[in-house]
Symmetry: C3
Subunit: 360 residues, 3 copies
């Protein structure tokens, strides 16, 4: 009766098939009743959604300024509980989501280590997700594995009690809420000059592997007359999947390795660092590219309204001396992440009208 | 004056004597004014208590369905603070307690690692407990050491400011809140057919070391005309302390290693996994017992009302294909843990009448 | 274009200069509008401030006794969010601050590990601080590095959105909130006999390296007619910087290595343990000094009102048998830490009048 067996864990019927589908085929699955239910891909966002969310974020930050307003904010979702499931370390995204939840009155559980989980007892990742979902109303996940978030959303949408999933970063490619905060920052920095439409945006640094600049490029299709300037060393040029996409969408872009010549041309400069944590190869050497740094002396080269952005953390790409300049937008950008994530969570639970009604 | 001494830490007077007492002798110590104060042993629960707690859990989950009701729930204990002291990893029990506290409005502190504690500075376990109790109103502990919870309760009941203790699992034997959620699930799954009285329950798997099936067996004395079917490989049969107990209580039980023959007979099947994490010995080899698994094809063998339970995490004992069947109760069972723990905490702080009054 | 460079991180202009200033020169920087904004040094506290804070702590603990009062307390700062940034393990200080925040309704984020932070991505400590400050309204830090807290306060006070810093212990020297709780305990234990003025205080143990006794000595200048008895083995005598300070201030002190002869003389005995965690040297051997322990038999030697204190954790310095004596004040002292920290946080956000108004 006792048999030493080579166990193969069964997978949930339909899961593998779903995971093998293309992004476009998967996307409809993450909506319910014409609204986004799970937030997995940047491709889920259209202009109407982005505009609505930015507006909602503006109203939320305005409410948070007063004690009464912040009490109204907390009353929105004080009956809901969230789970932050962060398998991959991420101070910034974690704190940003946590405080977004706190702003809305949500109680938060967290799992930041695999070692405290039941995986040591041989539980499948799917069962672990279902366990988390048993206790909460929203799962926000961050995972080193590409495809994790869509798998999680599929599993949790197919239970007796579906629970929405927000992708807080999965693998090298998708980080949709970072894209949201970048869009929100651009719109907000340009709010007195007509918003993002018609602007020229430089993206600088490791464009090949940087998921923020890749996502941001995709989202430009939602805005009119935007021009992109890709500024990178030759080995870190933007990949052809993105440039092909831009060509199809009719979005003009320029490529250059001469950062200083681009500086006076643009309305925003989006700096990125070299991503040592991904993959091997010769680009992982402890080298740096000082020609792709933004230094204090460059402040005199850029336009008076030009916004300097960075997804952070920075290493040496931007001089700390630049921080004092009002055009240095990266710290505001970071805090915008909290507001736009609060807006996103409020949206997921259908609370927009509640927020709007506070201003009537 | 300076002496290298072999230090022997003193123990609190009376503690050793208390710890050496039998369970039955210790139990009265955990009650105050005719009510349970600390929750340490499954043996503390009688039928009246169990019925009351299941009823309270039903009302709490009903209140939690509305925003108003959940606000009333949070108002119950919003002035109280709990400490989750989990020295042993446990995702499920931890999250279940944490969210139970959140439902009741409690603020929660947690200690999940011994390395961040003062033990490195040479503090005794008793002093660490007193420190935790200094700041909070309730301690929920999980510890690998048998006897830890009763020691903690004794220490904290003998201070200027007694703080109740809930045992969230201590060592291989006691996990009383797991027993509560199992009872609650059985009662709830059978609620349209008269509850647990008169039912036939199979317990399957590692009965020798599984503390859930041991505790559940003990609690059966509180229910009328229950019959137990123990289904296990020979090396994992239920131990004689439990079967002797059943005999004394007049609770009929059967033993079998033929799972399929038992399936059609019973009203509930309680599956367990082989517990590799305890102790050494040949049973820790990476073997499995496929004859004691519940497979999709077994769904046709069991009764239409038969409830399939599992304390989780599962490894291979239940096919994931079974999850879709309405008789698969284990995910509901897991979530029941949150509700019954919320009921237990509300009870400890004497909040039953407050909950009942919401329904008047 | 690609260059392997030896990177030197720039520092924020002015930071180095500030850090090289003496304590007295730095202190004005931590106040705004005549009130303390950051809490970095014990030297920031004068008698008026200490008396006000002790009074505030008394009122807060009184409010916390009732459900209504505790709701009023939480309403004070429910719109604020704090960050506990504890790089160094500290159960007691951490829990004390956390529960102080909870009492006042604050939401709390925490970072207790450097490994989950962005430092692995090469971020500077200053940027990490600014990130934390992006999401919250108060930073409470604990750090092994002397000077960390003042650096943090300087950095965060020089941003677009200044955020106050409380020093929860930095390096071997400063732990101002420990000093506050010690003062609060002395005042409270002596409340029926005129408070701390005119009392005789023994400080016992490792006076050379113990930062609590050093800070407490400094603060004695705020009280009238206090006499200090330093009781220590020769190798752990109080350093001359403190004794010089006392001489300048005209505060009488005695030094002794005969603990028992001092016992009957004093109104309070402040016990400390030998601090193995700091520095090397021969004093780090696993030795102990039993002549500097307080044993049960000593209870008959001290005055009926004499208060026995200890910053905890204790090792063997105080018999557990002593705990039952009403003069054993160390557990009350520990809990006082929560109340005085709640008072401090309420003060920082200017909530004193709100608290006082509850008693009108």
């Amino acid at each position: 009766m006792k048999t030493v067996v080579e166990q193969t864990r069964q997978t949930i019927p339909g899961l593998e098939e779903f995971c093998s589908q293309k992004t476009d085929e998967q996307i409809p699955f993450f909506s319910r009743d014409g609204r986004l239910f799970d937030i997995i891909y940047g491709q889920q966002f259209d202009r109407e959604f982005l505009d609505q969310l930015c507006h909602l974020a503006d109203l939320i930050r305005q409410l948070a300024r007063t004690k009464t307003g912040s009490r109204q904010l907390r009353s929105l979702l004080e009956h809901k509980r969230a789970m932050l499931y962060f398998v991959q370390p991420s101070t910034r995204t974690f704190l940003s989501f946590l405080n977004a939840c706190h702003l809305l009155g949500m109680k938060v559980s967290e799992s930041r280590e695999t070692s405290t989980s039941s995986e040591v007892k041989g539980e499948s990742a799917e069962d672990t997700l279902c366990t988390f979902a048993s206790y909460v109303d929203l799962i926000i996940s961050r995972h080193p594995e590409a495809g994790f978030a869509q798998k999680a959303a599929w599993v949790l949408n197919n239970t007796e009690r579906p629970v929405p999933v927000i992708n807080g970063g999965s693998g090298p490619d998708q980080h949709p809420t970072q894209a949201l905060l970048d869009i929100y920052t651009l719109q907000r920095e340009f709010r007195s000059i007509g918003g993002l439409d018609g602007k020229k945006i430089a993206m600088v640094g490791d464009l090949k592997r940087g998921r923020t600049v890749r996502s941001l490029s995709y989202l430009m299709k939602n805005y009119r007359d935007v021009t992109i300037y890709y500024v990178a060393p030759n080995e870190f040029r933007m990949k052809s999947d993105i440039t092909s996409f831009l060509e199809k969408q009719g979005i003009p872009y320029h490529e250059s390795d001469d950062f200083e010549s681009v500086m006076p041309e643009v309305d925003a400069i989006y700096m990125t660092r070299v991503q040592n944590e991904y993959g091997g190869g010769p680009e992982d050497e402890p080298t740096d590219y000082p020609d792709f740094h933004f230094k204090a002396e460059h402040l005199s080269l850029i336009q008076p309204h030009c916004s300097i952005m960075h997804p952070l953390p920075r290493r040496y790409e931007i001089d700390v001396l630049v921080d004092q300049d009002p055009r240095a937008a990266y710290w505001r950008q970071e805090r915008n992440g909290m507001w736009i994530r609060a807006a996103l969570i409020a949206y997921i639970f259908g609370q927009e009208q509640e927020v709007f009604s506070e201003f009537k």
